[in-house]
């Protein structure tokens, strides 16, 4: 049987090689021309603890991490007990026979990963034993894997050759175990590398690189899952003359430091998650009021308060869009893939500079640790914007005009007070009604310069549209493709620019009789926002801490379409 697609889950205990095996498979697959996506979960304890990572590889672009497993790799017995019910009926289990024995299962293959690795003289090659076994199960040719290993371990060291050979040998040993059992799950069709260059990275890294490209030169942050890797990346890679990066003492310190930095001319950024975002409320309001460019990356996790720090959810939409008291609605960009994380980060910095105010880039746990292949960005073609700077020396009024106006930078002309209290043109506090009206209009008018976001639209003639946001884009798209294949009458509208929405997209949304928004929260937050804009939107919600399964979405969207049709009869 031919297959286009392979879904493998690696489960075990933290430290057993779950993540390295899963990422190793993704690397091997992308190097050999497949597309890949990983989905990682984390144990809540520091060392050990149950954990699993899923890798899906395909000849087609990978949209979701996949519902049913073709192969489950169990590093211990607990993993088998927890995950065997996710296996497809034709699925196969590969398990670590040093840990436990599965005697009554015909499609379970016991392999002593570590012992076999040891026999190659390279104890670190256990993940290659696993990958070899997987390759054999789907009849993947060895020559492309040899090429991958050779490339990976050619590092200019004297023992390169030795390591390459032991890794290849380890794969062979894994393959042998499968051959001996005579088990196969079909042939994975070969895939060709695209004719453009690609990179493999996760969402947090993509955001960090996008920010670097956009010229971020001030970064302050406080550690918090799942955003910490962005801070760590910046601390390692951003330092350079004229650039500042630092772990500060709280999110209150981060956001207010960003206000000072943005005021003084920096492109300032921080990264955080829900609890940190809550602490940033007042500072974000200050940036809005005083018109200070800055970017906050919010990598969503689950639940209010400390909630579910290591799970995924899309429940911060309201608190990112409306993070503070007073009339305020922040620009929000919510990428739906690793590639969009990169481009979204560049745009977030550009937007902050362009409209001179705070912008939120909203990611989510499932994207942050997701490794995915993407087209390598051609940096020379991705524009980087800088704010308008005031050069007027003659009694310039910083807040004098009605829209975006050149910003004075300390050290240059046009001194003013950047004021969080309502103010007049030079930034002095005022309580005059007409001034508050004027300044309120000024602040809201500025948002218009951000109405250039792009969006995806397909089957726009349909009266119903599926409109996912953020990381739900992938599973929703897969569900959409399958609905279309089965003849459903439904359209597709998607953007990562949640506020302001691209005006043309909003116009299309308003024409729909029904807009279905799949989202990972209880209240249906994006459909609440859409309804407030005059769109007839309803949500399909899930709040398990995990992403949607495609099959659930297909079922639930179909139900909605059916009940809509019933209602129209």
């Amino acid at each position: 049987m031919d297959k286009d697609d392979l879904i493998v889950r690696f489960a075990g205990e933290g430290g057993q090689g779950v993540v390295t095996s899963a990422e190793g498979l993704a690397q091997a697959a992308t190097q050999t021309g497949y597309n890949a996506q990983t989905f990682a979960t984390f144990p809540s304890q520091i060392l050990g603890g149950p954990t699993w990572t899923q890798t899906r590889i395909s000849v087609n672009p990978v949209l979701s991490s996949g519902d049913e497993l073709d192969i489950l790799v169990c590093f211990n017995e607990q993993a088998y007990l927890n995950h065997s019910n996710s296996l497809s009926p034709e699925g196969v289990i590969v398990y670590n026979s040093a840990e436990f024995e599965l005697t009554d299962n015909d499609s379970a293959i016991g392999i002593d990963f570590d012992e076999l690795a040891k026999s190659t003289g390279n104890t670190r090659a256990a993940n290659m034993v696993v990958i070899g076994a997987l390759a054999e199960l789907v009849s993947m040719k060895q020559d492309i894997l040899d090429e991958f290993v050779t490339k990976k371990f050619t590092r200019g060291r004297s023992n390169d050759q030795e390591i390459i050979e032991s890794n290849i040998k380890a794969m062979g040993l894994g393959r042998n175990e499968v051959k001996q059992r005579g088990i196969s799950i079909g042939q994975l069709n070969p895939s060709k590398k695209p004719d453009y260059e690609q990179v493999l990275m996760n969402g947090n890294l993509a955001i960090s690189l996008g920010a670097m490209h956009a010229g971020v030169d001030f970064f302050a942050g406080y550690p918090i899952s799942p955003a910490t890797p962005i801070l760590l990346f910046m601390e390692k890679n951003l330092p350079a003359k004229g650039k500042f990066v630092f772990q500060v003492s709280s999110e209150i310190e981060s956001i207010t430091a960003l206000v000072g930095a943005g005021f003084a001319g920096a492109k300032a950024m921080t990264s955080t998650a829900g609890p940190g975002l809550s602490l940033m409320s007042e500072g974000l309001g200050l940036a809005w009021m005083a018109e200070i460019p800055l970017v906050v990356v919010n990598v969503q996790r689950g639940g209010p308060a400390t909630g579910l720090p290591t799970k995924t959810e899309q429940s911060d939409l309201m608190s990112t869009m409306f993070p503070a008291h007073g009339d305020i609605r922040l620009p929000v960009i919510a990428p739906g893939s690793v590639e969009e994380c990169f481009h979204g980060a560049v745009t977030a910095v550009n937007w902050a500079e362009r409209y001179q105010g705070p912008v939120i880039l909203m990611s989510e746990m499932a994207l942050s640790e997701r490794n995915q292949n993407m087209r390598k960005p051609d940096l020379s073609k991705i524009p980087v914007e800088k704010r308008l700077v005031n050069m007027d020396t003659n009694g310039y009024q910083r807040y004098g005009q009605s829209g975006v106006s050149p910003m004075p930078i300390p050290g240059g002309p046009g001194s003013y007070v950047a004021n969080g209290s309502e103010h007049d043109g030079i930034g002095d506090t005022t309580h005059l009604a007409e001034r508050h009206v004027q300044m309120t209009h000024r602040r809201w008018n500025k948002i218009k310069v951000l109405e250039d976001g792009d969006f995806e639209a397909e089957f726009t003639d349909s009266a119903i549209a599926l409109v996912p946001w953020g990381g739900t884009k992938g599973p929703a798209r897969e569900a959409f493709d399958s609905l279309i294949k089965s003849g459903a009458d439904i359209g597709w509208l998607y953007t990562m620019f949640l506020n302001p929405l691209p005006p043309d997209m909003l116009a299309l949304l308003k024409q729909k009789e029904l807009v279905i928004v799949p989202e990972l929260n209880y209240q249906g937050q994006f459909s609440m926002v859409l309804r407030s804009l005059g769109v007839n939107a309803i949500s399909i919600t899930q709040y398990t801490g995990l992403p949607f399964k495609v099959k659930d979405l297909v079922e639930r969207v179909t139900e909605q379409i059916e009940s809509y049709k019933q209602g129209n009869k």
């Binding site: 500042f244 430091a257 000072g260 930095a261 003084a264 001319g265 500072g283 050290g411 950047a418 930034g427």
Partner: protein, 288 residues
Amino acid sequence: MSAKNPEYDFKWCPGCGDFGVRRALESAIQQRHADTGIAIENNVVVAGIGCSGNMVHLLEGDQPFGIHGVHGRTLPIAMGVKMTNPDLNVVVVAGDGDFLSIGLEHIGPQAGRNLNVCAVVMDNGVYGLTKGQSSPTSEIGMITSSTPYGKVEEKTHPLSLYLTLGVSYIASAMSSKVKDLATTIVDAMEHPGFSIVHVQSPCTTYNDTYELLKGSVKKGIEPQAWAIPDDHNSSDIRAASDLLSRGGIPLGLLYKDTTRPDFQSRIDSMTNMSGSKSTQDILDMLAI
């Protein structure tokens, strides 16, 4: 700016200590402009929320840049400004409530980094702007609008607190001695690190402490304030701590440590260690 701005309607009460602090700050900025050529627009005044913070709108003459932010966050805002452009002279102006109550958490970290900014704290032992509630420096037992039966907590001792937290320059002053205060502010601005000038700046409306500070022979009131003797060794942290144990309010330079690197030099030496890679370099490393 207020003199020329009819729209700006905030005024300090007659006799408010903040008037003196304002004059001292104006003349410190002017004097450094004259002496060292630091342009006025290279000064940034970061103001807290309170009667005291309104100073940023009340400065007369050539205007520095200012930020009038949110309550309690002057120090991190100042850090953002200073670490973006180390050439700027950054001054914090804040009240005792702003700096020592809601903003207390920010003093320790900046002391540890030795952020090169100068904080001028106007201590009136009360929340002026919100109309007379108790503050960390109000005396125990004091009746205020929020402590109708007397303040319950012991008062904070700001100078010993700063010393304990490792602030590298600590001076204590009186708002009514404008010339001394101006000289002190210049000295503090020139200190290469975190400096605090803690000023007794009485609130004539809610906590008039002029008499207590200066004493009254007629009423037999011993002055609380006393001058730090000339022979005090301000580089000796033990001597500073001994002085504080005498009680009352010492006026003058309490402590000054010029041996510690400031935040910028710490960052610079870290930067030298990083082999900085460009976005392109990293993308190339990730290529499939």
